[in-house]
Structure formats: structure tokens, C-alpha cells
């Protein structure tokens, strides 16, 4: 990892970037390292994600994108480097603490709770539910309060269902949904946490074009509401058209970082993707 000199964010970022908040850094990853046995999956990756922006994380298979996600969100514990979220060091955080900070992820393969209904799936992530304390759920007086909270929560769940236009599957078991519906559910569920930043791991994989557009519209709508997005995606078109900034990973480290236009013309990136000496 010694010779992987990380480009400082300013260098490739010469393209016009109208975002006024561009100095407001939501997430920064510095020198991240993750090894599995003898294999170094992430090898000194460093990058930053600006608040309120939509950033794409791309790279060929095996570049370490998903592992980077896992390290940020605590599924894996990094072997080196730091992760800062809104200025706080969250390196080695536990997965459930992430949600407390407002940092929420989705999984590449949707991880719906297959035997729970869509409604249950969506009620699950809500934070600070007093009913998650055992005694409050049991004792009669506290229970009334729990039921009141549940009704409020259900209201919110329906709003989210409406937002994603999936009210018709509300009572369906999540395991019976189609692949695309699962993706929607996965994102809806992440939103129920009321996060500040969303990490989406291949949100469009296995989604048909119609649904893909819908999903993108939702993401843009949310972005306007102030959410920050970091998206791992293999569909280059999609990333180039929708993201303000793109981070390219290759062999565990960041190969390039910048506006989409600068990325497409970057020779290194082309080589990494086409695997040819151009």
C-alpha cells in the first residue's frame, strides 16, 4: 500500500462543480485497509463524500467496493485507516451504531426479512421505539403508549409506501416479492431510519429499466430533500448521468476521483475497465 499514492481530492476535481456546499464533507475515508487472510481486498482507499451530493463508487469486479462499504458500516472491521462521518471518527463502529449516527446502507442482494410482511419490514427499522423494551410491551399502561407509537409509525410507513408507490404490496410477505420490489423495499426500509446519508450497494442490479427509472426519480427526489448518497453501481451510464462525483476503485485503492466527464476520459480508468494497454 506504500506506492498507492492517493490523489488529493482537489487534483482531479478541476471540473466545474456548482455545488455550493462542496467543502462540507459528510463522509471521509482515509487509508482504509482490509485483509482476508493473504488477500488485501481494500488497500489504502481514501476518498470523501460531500454533503447533499450524489456520489458514485465504481470499479471492476473485485475492486473492493463492497468491502469498503462493509468497512464503513461495521460489517467488517478495517485493518487500517480511518472513517469519519460528519467529522466524527467512526472507524470500527458496530453495524447497529451506524444507524444511530444517521448512516444507513442497503445490501447488494436485498436482505429483506422474507417471512415478515412488507409492513413489518418497514416498521422494524424505526429508531427509538419504546416498545422495543420488553417490559413496555407487556405492562398494560406502558403498552398503551407503545400502541400509540405504533399507530404513528404505521402512518409513516404508509407515507413511505406511497412515496415508493408500493402500497399494493403492503401486506405481502417480503419473500414473495419480485426482485425489483425487494430493491424498493430495501431502500424504503433504509429510509425508515430517517438517516442523513444512504450507502446504496448496487441498488439497480436485477431491476428492470422501468423500475430503474422510478428508483432513480426517488433517489433524486430524496437528494433534493437533503440526503447524501454514495452509490456502488456497475452500470456506468447510470453513474455518469446521475452523480455529481465519481470515485473509481481498482485493486483495493482509489484510482481516480472527480466529475464524471473527467473520469470517462481518464486513461487509467479506461485501462482498468477494458483491461487493455490502450
Amino acid at each position: 500500500m506504500s506506492d498507492t499514492e492517493i490523489e488529493s481530492p482537489e487534483v482531479p476535481n478541476d471540473a466545474a462543480d456548482p455545488d455550493p456546499q462542496r467543502n462540507d464533507i459528510e463522509l471521509s475515508v482515509d487509508g482504509l485497509v482490509k485483509r482476508f487472510g493473504g488477500i488485501t481486498a481494500v488497500d489504502g482507499a481514501s476518498f470523501e463524500v460531500e454533503s447533499g451530493a450524489m456520489t458514485g463508487l465504481i470499479g471492476p469486479n473485485g475492486a473492493g467496493k463492497s468491502t469498503t462499504f462493509h468497512c464503513i458500516t461495521g460489517i467488517h472491521r478495517p485493518d487500517g485507516g480511518t472513517v469519519r462521518f460528519q467529522g466524527r471518527d467512526i472507524t470500527g463502529i458496530r453495524p447497529y451504531e451506524c444507524a444511530d449516527y444517521g448512516l444507513v446502507r442497503t445490501f447488494q442482494i436485498a436482505r429483506e426479512m422474507a417471512n415478515m410482511t412488507v409492513l413489518e419490514n418497514l416498521m422494524l427499522p424505526a429508531q427509538n421505539q419504546s416498545g422495543e423494551q420488553l417490559w413496555r410491551s407487556v405492562l398494560p399502561f406502558a403498552r398503551q403508549e407503545v400502541e400509540r407509537e405504533e399507530r404513528e409509525l404505521l402512518e409513516r410507513v404508509w407515507e413511505v409506501l406511497e412515496f415508493f408507490e408500493i402500497e399494493h404490496i403492503a401486506e405481502e410477505k417480503a419473500g414473495n416479492l419480485s426482485g425489483g420490489q425487494r430493491k424498493l423495499l430495501e431502500m424504503a426500509r433504509a429510509l425508515m431510519i430517517e438517516p442523513e446519508m444512504l450507502l446504496l450497494d448496487e441498488p439497480f442490479a436485477g431491476v428492470n429499466p422501468t423500475l430503474e427509472h422510478k428508483l432513480l426519480d426517488h433517489i433524486h427526489e430524496l437528494r433534493e430533500e437533503g440526503y447524501t448518497f454514495l452509490i456502488v453501481e456497475h452500470d456506468m451510464d447510470l453513474i455518469m448521468e446521475n452523480c455529481e462525483r465519481v470515485i473509481v476503485m481498482h485493486q483495493g485503492s482509489v484510482l481516480a476521483e472527480g466529475a464524471p466527464e473527467t473520469i470517462t476520459s481518464n486513461e487509467q480508468v479506461i485501462e482498468a475497465y477494458l483491461g487493455g494497454e490502450v
Partner: protein
């Protein structure tokens, strides 16, 4: 009319959807069958009622444990096969706490002489603590390792109370004992005396006497079974509340995908520890109620068999359903536990067998010459053994044919309120007729 019959079937099916109907139908069938068979054979009324009473007692106790196991396995996916150990902790601690401090006569070992309610609370807390001790190291383990750990724990408990070293011991200057292999004798008053000494109880005794020809002992046993049914209802209520809540929702999520639940901000370990301790405490309570009225207890009562029974009951009923747990324990007791014995008594009454051969060889040899009678006689002689074989086979067949049990396919919604329609929307439009 075919439409008429389908209508009726649909009606019946919708009726069957109600848990109360299910319970009534299953238990009604069980009790009526037992009673009818008894009547047909000319059993005395008090004999029949006594059989039903004993069955009620067993169903209530096993039902409590099955509900607790459902909380562990059905809801959270914690593979506990150390049930007998937690029951043993509950009962032994309660008995040691309740036994008088000065041992007299046959009751060799001293206890603390505490009042029964405190002793029961002590036993339940001890079983919960035992659960905590097992949970903290074991919860990180894979399900199969977790299972092995729990059964090892149960065996440690059983071997520990059997060991001579703990037969009698002194702690903080107080002499106590588990009785070792010889067990403990109950030399405290009947824990049910609170009820039995009530004025009204004597009229209950009179009533049972005039109805079924019961004596006072039988009347007490009947009253005890009824109390246990009330406790079962209480535990059912408790667990229903636990599971139909945000708490229960997290439990289900842990069962489905623990890592995803963590990513959604749930500290799953906290939930697992809480629910494991709660279930173990309930198992302890069931252990206490199971045997604290008996004249004594030996460690033999807590062989892994008990755990096995509960698992069969759970799988019959269907993991994940509380109603299923109760139905499962009913069916287990009626068909697999008491049924074969009842059947045997039936046959004994109808047919008079000659002497059975002493060995399997003695029973098989005549088959070669076409005489099956000795084999049948031997089989009857060894009926209790075959009953265990039957239980094992039943478990295998269930896992092959219907691993989801009676009600396991049906998911019970984990929320404190019904999730059938949109809140505030009284019509059914909220069901999503407006799909895009």
C-alpha cells in the same frame, strides 16, 4: 348441492382461522375421544375424569415450556436443547429455598425455610440467571454450536446435582444440599395450601365428590391442574404480548437475518440475551410447577428426554406460532405421551395375553414357524420402550413430511396493533386497490 357444501367448507375454514376455535376443536376432540373410549369400556367416571385431569396437568406444564421454547427458537432462532437444565435449576433452587432449615426424619437435607412465594421467585430468577450465564458466551456461536453448548450445560446441571459432592454442602455457614442421586424429598407443606385452606375449597371438594365421586386428594389434584391451566393462559398472554410488539418484531428480524437487523440499527445481542433469559426463567417456572407438589424429585427427572418432548411438541404445533405451541403440546401429550399407554390399557382390558417371552429372541423365533402371538405379547410387554421409538419416528416423519408443523406456515404479525389496513382509513381501500 355442491355450492352449498363449498360454502359450508369456506365457512368452516374461516371459522378455523380463529385461534380460539382451533384450540377448542383440538382439545375438545382429544378430551371427548378419551372420555368416549373410557365410557365405552365401562371405566368409572372418577377414573375417566382423573385421566383427563392428568392429561390437563401435563398439557399445561409442557405447554408452558413449549411456549418458552417457541420464544427462543420460533421467534428468535436460538437453538436451545438444554431445556431440562433450566427446568432443573428452577425446581431445585425453589425446593432448597423452601425446605425447612432443620432436617427431620427422612428429609435428609436442610433448606432455607423460606416462604413458598419467595422460593418460587428465587427459582425463577435462578433459572433466568442460568440463562444469562449460558447466553453471554454462547450467543455469538453458530446455531449448532449453540445447541451443543446448551445441552452440555443441561448435562452439567444434571451431573452436578447428582454428584455426591453437592449432596450436602455448606455455603456462608448454612448447610444445604441437592440430595445427590437420591434426590430431594418435599418436607414443606403443600404449596397449594393457600388455595386448599380456603373456605370455598371445601365446597369444591363436595362438588367434585358429588359429580365425579372424587375424594379430597383427587379434588386437590384437579384444582391444581386448573391452576396450571390458568398459569398457562397467563404465559400465553405474556408471550403473545411479547411477540406482538416492536420487541417481538426485532426478534423475528434476528431469526430472519441478524446482520441485516444490525444494519437497521438494532443491537441484536441485547435482544437475544433478554429473550433467552426470559425464556429460561419461564422454563424454570414450568419446572417448579411441574414437580414442586410431588413428594420428591431426583435428577433422573431431568434427563434430556424432557427437552426432546418439548421439541416434538413445538414441531408438531409449528415453530413461530404461540397457538401452535399450545396445540402441539396438547397433541403430543394426547397422542404420543399418554395415548400409547391409554391404548395399552385398553387392549389389556379387551384381550388377555398369556405370558410374554422374556427376550426378543424368544419372541422372534416362533415367527419362523408361523406363530406371531409371542412377538405380539413381547411387544406389549415392552410397550413403554416402543413408545419412545414411536416418538423418535414421529419426529423424523414430521421433519420429512411437515417440518413447518400445524401452524408454522402462518406468520403471526409482530406489531402492537393490527397491521391489516391503513390507520385512520376505515374502508378497505387502504389495502392497496390503488396500485399503480
Amino acid at each position: 348441492m355442491s355450492t352449498n357444501t363449498t360454502d359450508r367448507r369456506a365457512q368452516l375454514e374461516s371459522l378455523w382461522e380463529h385461534d380460539a376455535v382451533k384450540i377448542l376443536a383440538v382439545f375438545g376432540t382429544i378430551y371427548i375421544t378419551y372420555a368416549l373410549v373410557g365410557l365405552a369400556l365401562g371405566y368409572s367416571l372418577d377414573g375417566i375424569v382423573n385421566t383427563l385431569r392428568r392429561m390437563t396437568y401435563l398439557i399445561a406444564v409442557y405447554g408452558m415450556v413449549t411456549l418458552a421454547l417457541n420464544l427462543h427458537w420460533g421467534y428468535t432462532g436460538l437453538f436451545n436443547i438444554g431445556i431440562a437444565g433450566f427446568m432443573a435449576v428452577g425446581l431445585y433452587v425453589t425446593m432448597i429455598l423452601a425446605k425447612p432449615a432443620d432436617p427431620t426424619g427422612a428429609a435428609q437435607y436442610a433448606g432455607l425455610g423460606l416462604p413458598m412465594p419467595i422460593a418460587i421467585i428465587g427459582g425463577v430468577v435462578a433459572a433466568g440467571l442460568a440463562g444469562l450465564i449460558v447466553a453471554i458466551p454462547a450467543l455469538r456461536l453458530r446455531a449448532d454450536y449453540f445447541a451443543i453448548t446448551t445441552i452440555a450445560f443441561a448435562e452439567i446441571v444434571r451431573l452436578g446435582i447428582t454428584s455426591g459432592a453437592l449432596q450436602e454442602f455448606t455455603i456462608f455457614g448454612t448447610e444445604l444440599g441437592t440430595g445427590g442421586g437420591r434426590g430431594l424429598i418435599r418436607n414443606y407443606g403443600d404449596p397449594m395450601n393457600v388455595i386448599f385452606e380456603l373456605e370455598v375449597f371445601s365446597s369444591f371438594v363436595d362438588l367434585t365428590n358429588s359429580l365425579f365421586g372424587f375424594g379430597p386428594t383427587q379434588a386437590r389434584a384437579l384444582a391444581y391442574s386448573m391452576v396450571l391451566v390458568l398459569v398457562l393462559v397467563g404465559i400465553y398472554w405474556l408471550i403473545q404480548r411479547t411477540s406482538r410488539s416492536p420487541f417481538g418484531r426485532v426478534l423475528k428480524a434476528i431469526r430472519e437475518d441478524e446482520e441485516a437487523a444490525q444494519s437497521l440499527g438494532k443491537n441484536t445481542n441485547h435482544f437475544k440475551i433478554k429473550v433467552f433469559v426470559l425464556g429460561c426463567a419461564l422454563m424454570g417456572l414450568a419446572g417448579i410447577l411441574w414437580r414442586f407438589r410431588r413428594t420428591g424429585v431426583t435428577p433422573e427427572a431431568f434427563r434430556p428426554h424432557v427437552t426432546f418432548y418439548i421439541w416434538i411438541a413445538l414441531i408438531i404445533g409449528g415453530a413461530g406460532s404461540n397457538t401452535g405451541s399450545v396445540l402441539g403440546s396438547g397433541l403430543f401429550v394426547a397422542i404420543l405421551f399418554e395415548g400409547p399407554q391409554y391404548f395399552r390399557r385398553l387392549v389389556d382390558q379387551v384381550v388377555t395375553f398369556g405370558d410374554a417371552p422374556n427376550t426378543f429372541a424368544g419372541s422372534v423365533a416362533p415367527i419362523l414357524s408361523g406363530d406371531v402371538a409371542p412377538f405380539v405379547r413381547y411387544t406389549f410387554e415392552e410397550f413403554t420402550t416402543l413408545q419412545f421409538v414411536l416418538m423418535g419416528v414421529a419426529l423424523i416423519v414430521l421433519m420429512h413430511r411437515r417440518p413447518e408443523g400445524l401452524l408454522g406456515h402462518r406468520e403471526e404479525t409482530a406489531a402492537a396493533i393490527p397491521l391489516t389496513r391503513r390507520p385512520g382509513d376505515e374502508s378497505t381501500a387502504g389495502r392497496g386497490g390503488d396500485s399503480s
